[in-house]
């Protein structure tokens, strides 16, 4: 009979264990999210990340070993990014009908998101790596991770910053836009999609269908725009 220690030493070196753990942690996170009535603060990804981080710390597992298993899930970011083109394609008629305000708001929101975070971060004297990791924070995670890699940022930091941005945007959007007296659902949705990507978009769909459609347009177009402007704006800070 094999001792538990030997079984553990086998499992901890194989991809199976950490791939399974990643799926289970996300599944638990998703159940928690549903149990709270889909509250923005109960984000299933944050839940899964904290749970897995604790398990890795307690078992003394390195991130490298974990990633051996989790890389199969990570790989899916690429095709999932391509798939984001579909909601954009399906909403092309809305884009054409409101093209002018839509493009103006997209550019304004996108530049504000990148420029303001860089200005504040530099004001606090954060490191160049942190600046590059922060720059794409309003972009949907798969794209933000790619942008951060290109810019010399730390993709794992970006992943968490993107999550926190989305959660904060989703929580603050409704009170903030009410305060600003913006009643146009197109304007509200687009602004949230540009600033708070998928998590903001999910929230917009909960509030209003039109806002949700415009949020997904904003998220999709901002993924492309940030990939272009983030390197340009970051260059000004070097």
């Amino acid at each position: 009979m094999t001792t538990p220690a030997l079984i553990w030493s086998y499992l901890s070196q194989e991809p199976l264990l950490w791939l399974t753990a990643t799926l289970i942690a996300y599944w638990l996170g998703d159940r928690f999210f549903r149990a709270t009535g889909r509250q923005s603060w109960a984000n299933p990804v944050l839940f899964a990340v904290i749970l897995l981080a604790l398990v890795l710390l307690v078992t003394g597992t390195t991130y490298q070993t974990y990633f051996e298993g989790a890389q199969f899930v990570h790989f899916m970011l690429g095709p999932a990014t391509v798939a984001l083109g579909m909601p954009l394609y399906e909403n092309l008629h809305r884009v054409r009908r409101a093209a002018l305000p839509l493009i103006a708001a997209l550019v304004a929101g996108s530049v504000t998101a990148v420029l303001s975070v860089l200005l504040i971060a530099r004001g606090f004297g954060l490191s160049p790596v942190m600046l590059a990791s922060l720059a794409p924070k309003s972009t949907t995670a798969p794209v933000a991770i790619g942008i951060a890699e290109n810019l010399g940022g730390e993709p794992t930091i970006t992943a968490v910053l993107v999550l926190l941005t989305g959660m904060f945007g989703a929580i603050i959007a409704t009170p903030l836009l009410n305060l600003l007296r913006i009643r146009d659902w197109r304007a509200r949705g687009l602004a949230v999609g540009v600033a708070a990507h998928g998590i903001g978009t999910a929230r917009a769909f909960q509030v209003n269908e039109t806002a949700g459609a415009f949020a997904s347009i904003g998220m999709g177009l901002n993924a492309v725009l940030t990939a272009i402007i983030a390197p340009l704006l970051l260059h000004l800070f070097r």
């Binding site: 899916m76 909601p87 305000p101 103006a104 836009l177």
Partner: protein
Amino acid sequence: MIPALAILLSFQLVGEVVARGLGLPLPGPVIGLLALVVSCSLRPPLAERLRPVVQGLLGNLSLFFVPAGVGVIAHVGEFRSDGLAIAIALTVSTALAIGVGAIVFRLVARGGDE
């Protein structure tokens, strides 16, 4: 499912080749995203073919960034020392971007139809 997945991966592959070949700052999958929009506009049946797999992927989009997120354990020190600065940069910037985006949309749309 397999043909749709093969088509999505092909878009990504073309995107990577174009991005590296031309030295573009865009990540390969973003070029793949644009190629998907253009291809579906030119050939609407393609969208029908991809739809089920796309819905499956987008429905579980957030799962895919769990592995990258867990990588934060290697950077706990940075978050501890610069946590407040990062929190302020992130929250102020996000609120500003939402406000500016919505206000600009209304300013430009004024006079147009609701």
